[in-house]
């Protein structure tokens, strides 16, 4: 086999490798022998860096000189819930600056939870002549000025997707910077922007881009402009409406209904801000062919929601508010047999009492009726072990299960027991479970179940759970495929971490906040394991000014080949060999 491998000319191998896209496969190829490593690195076109601090731009560029597509992720997931203080890091500019010289033919940049500035966007706009795709997911730090630079300069831009980013929205004028000669738009997502773009500029842009497949508008686009936009883009596959509210007027309704009917390729709908039930029938004609529906901004109630989902027999993904109630979920279970993903968000997350009749029963119904359901995010106010066990038995094909019970530490509301056995059933039956987020009253026992059964688990989120270090130890020692672990407000301390220190190098990252890990343990970890960055975040001041036994506020540990980073704000310290000198 080795003889054969070395007898193929490089060109042949390169041609063969060009059919391999998956990162894991590419990594495997590169490990076969030195010559394959060399050939592979010169023809790798796409790289994914799950933690931007795990490697440095020069290291990436040195190994992979001909990259066309880059994906980077910055802040830890809990940044979504304001647990990562402002200024922590995740700056993309150093990457853009390095790639501007090294990858002049770069086509695609996808970023998640990174700080992007207008300077970075301007640099992208002028450095990459063939730039095609910009996806900024949950990013922040830039304004519409940066977007104007992209619009004005990227002649070959196909995709501009700002999903869930925080943009300093100075004005909607940036959209008008797309020149009249620009026609290559395929996907545009501006749903996170607040201000109004020029509607005529938008209509003209949509009208002159024949390949436009995805258009997600923002709330500022009124309902009575939607028909005009749709008529200019009947080939649309994915649409996000603007405000879906207006006074009921027959002519507005009929032109809207007509426009929707004309979009024969439409498969995905979102938007529906402030939706009024009166205009929902406008989409009924296309409901049977919809595969994805995001109603999580729509304030419509269970009667209208039930009527709507009952017509969506091809639905694969539904995101909705808990206004759907158990009754709507029963209809979903009855009519949408192709459903794969369900997310139910709370309409009043801070109310003490439930405002809707959505219970564990709704989720049980869907788990019974939808054989392909494998991905769940469910916010509710009560749960039982029985319900969880039923769901587990119904859906052994579950791969992503995230449950949030609004009240922390809520027990099984009937038996008043912890929910250990319920989640135990989930990990026992769902052997392919990759992602789990738990809720309710949980003891160390649930972690024992997880350690014993959740062998394919890659990401675990834990809050207000467990009794002792044993809980954390079960997870770290038992979950062989664990890559990301995020923990908040749990009584986990030093022992489990130190005993399982080697495990941390096999994971992407560990986040622990409001736990009981001492500064001394953090120092020890940082000093003993060089390829880990152990970052301590503490806004009370330098951890060295308090006793070593004092627990740290927040801890973020990640493996890296780039060493400690140098862009940390004043409240973050890296524990490494030098820290003992710097902090004493």
């Amino acid at each position: 086999m080795l003889r054969m491998a070395s007898s193929f000319p490089e060109e042949v191998l390169e041609h063969v490798f060009s059919f391999i896209y998956d990162d894991k496969d590419r990594n495997a190829i590169s490990m076969v022998c030195k010559s394959w490593y060399e050939i592979e690195r010169w023809c790798r076109r796409r790289i994914f860096v799950g933690n931007c601090y795990a490697v440095s731009p020069p290291m990436v560029i040195r190994r992979f000189p001909e990259v066309r597509s880059v994906e980077l992720k910055g802040k830890p997931h809990f940044a979504d819930f304001n647990l990562v203080p402002e200024g922590w890091g995740g700056y993309v500019y150093p990457w853009i600056a390095a790639m501007a010289t090294a990858y002049p033919w770069l086509e695609e940049i996808r970023l998640k939870r990174m700080v992007v500035t207008d300077e970075a966007l301007e640099l992208i706009a002028k450095s990459f002549k063939n730039f095609k795709v910009l996806v900024l997911s949950s990013c922040e730090g830039f304004s519409t000025d940066g977007l104007a630079a992209i619009a004005a300069n990227c002649r070959n831009l196909k995709e501009l997707d700002l999903r869930e980013s925080e943009v300093d929205d100075l004005s909607g004028h940036w959209l008008s910077h797309f020149p009249d000669s620009y026609t290559s738009l395929v996907s545009l997502n501006i749903s996170c922007l607040g201000s109004e773009v020029s509607f005529s500029a938008l209509e003209r842009l949509v009208g002159r881009c024949p390949n436009l497949r995805t258009l997600r508008l923002n709330r500022a686009v009124p309902l009575d402009r939607l028909a005009n936009i749709l008529c200019r883009a009947p080939q649309l596959v994915e649409l996000g409406t603007g405000t879906y509210s207006a006074e009921l007027q027959p002519d507005v309704f009929s032109s809207l209904a007509g426009a929707f009917s004309g979009c024969k390729e439409l498969r995905s709908l979102s938007g529906f801000w402030d939706a009024v039930p009166g205009y929902l029938p406008a989409i009924y004609p296309i409901c049977p062919s919809l595969t994805s529906l995001n109603l999580s901004y729509a304030t419509i109630r269970s009667t209208d929601l039930t009527k709507l989902v009952s017509q969506c027999q091809s639905l694969q993904r539904l995101w909705v508010l808990d206004y759907i109630e158990d009754i709507g979920l029963e209809a979903l279970a009855a009519f949408c047999k192709d459903l794969r993903e369900l997310r139910v968000f709370p309409s009043e997350p801070f109310a003490q009492e439930p405002n809707v009749s959505l219970t564990e029963q709704g989720l049980v119904s869907v788990s019974e009726g939808c054989p392909k359901l494998h991905s769940v995010l469910y916010f509710c106010r009560q749960m039982t072990n029985d319900a969880l066990a039923t769901i587990a038995r119904n859906r052994p094909n579950m791969t992503r299960f995230r449950l949030c019970i609004i009240e922390p530490r809520a027990p099984d509301y009937i038996t008043l027991q912890p929910l250990d056995d319920g989640f135990g059933a989930i990990v026992e039956h769902c052997k392919d479970l990759q992602r789990l987020s738990m809720a309710g009253l949980l003891t160390d026992r649930v972690f024992e179940h997880i350690g014993n059964h959740a062998k394919k688990l890659e990401m675990l989120s834990v809050a207000f759970a467990g009794d002792s270090d044993l809980g954390l130890h079960h997870v770290l020692s038992g979950c062989e495929n664990l890559r990301k672990l995020e923990i908040r407000d749990c009584p986990f301390g030093d022992k489990a971490l130190l005993v399982n220190a080697a495990k941390l190098e096999t994971m992407r990252s560990l986040w622990m906040s409001s736990c009981s890990v001492s500064f001394g343990a953090c120092k020890l970890l940082g000093q003993k394991i060089p390829r880990l960055n152990v970052e301590v975040m503490d806004e009370r001041g330098p951890p060295g000014s308090r006793p070593e036994s004092c627990p740290v506020e927040k801890l973020y540990i990640y493996r890296t080949v780039a060493g400690p980073r140098f862009d940390m704000p004043g409240f973050v310290w890296t524990m490494d060999e030098d820290s003992a000198l710097r902090l004493s």
Binding site: D168, F350, F379, E407, P408, E539, R540
Partner: protein
Amino acid sequence: MELQLGLSLSTTHNPIDGSDINNKEFDPKEILSLKPWSHDYGCLLDKKRSFEDAFGKLKDASQTLPLLLWSGHPNDEDDDKREKKRLSCRLSKIHEEVLEEDDLVVGWPPIKSWRKKMLRQRQGGDRIVKNRVAAAADGKENNGGSNSMYVKVKMEGVAIARKVDLRLFHSYQTLTSSLICMFDKSLQLEKDNANYTLAYQDKDGDWLLAGDVPWQTFIVSVQRLELLKNGG
């Protein structure tokens, strides 16, 4: 009339005590509100009769740190205008975040900020004030009703703010005694017997000294509390 609180300080105490968590009577609502204090600072800057105006000299100069830190990050160019724009964008974002974070525990339930913002835009900001007024009115008829009235309490120099349920108290004295106990655990580095003054922000956004108005009037209008260090 100033309320002087003489605080005697115990030795180092672990504020996150595992025993709290295992305590069966532990009320989840009393979980510490671990807000980064830079958020509070940004909020104070935006309020009427700003904190600076009311208590400028009492503020610790080091509290200006977060803004300076941000402007030190590598992406900053020499362009002043851009820097000011970014700074104001950050401040307004902080302000928004503080207005939204009326939940009892930071980051809970785990909902993304833009989704929370959208929910609040629908329901209107006055709901929370109305609830508190209603709860206070209940209190006159029904002593110790089941509604809670949580307000944030910050002590100057302590990064971690707390929340306290005003329904549990019936006078300034009981409130201040409880606050002394609550913050005693956090003050690990301060000198003994520092004196503190209790100030509060009313529903018009003004900062006032606690104790001037009758207790019932106070709890209807108080939005948040702060313990200020006296003297130098």
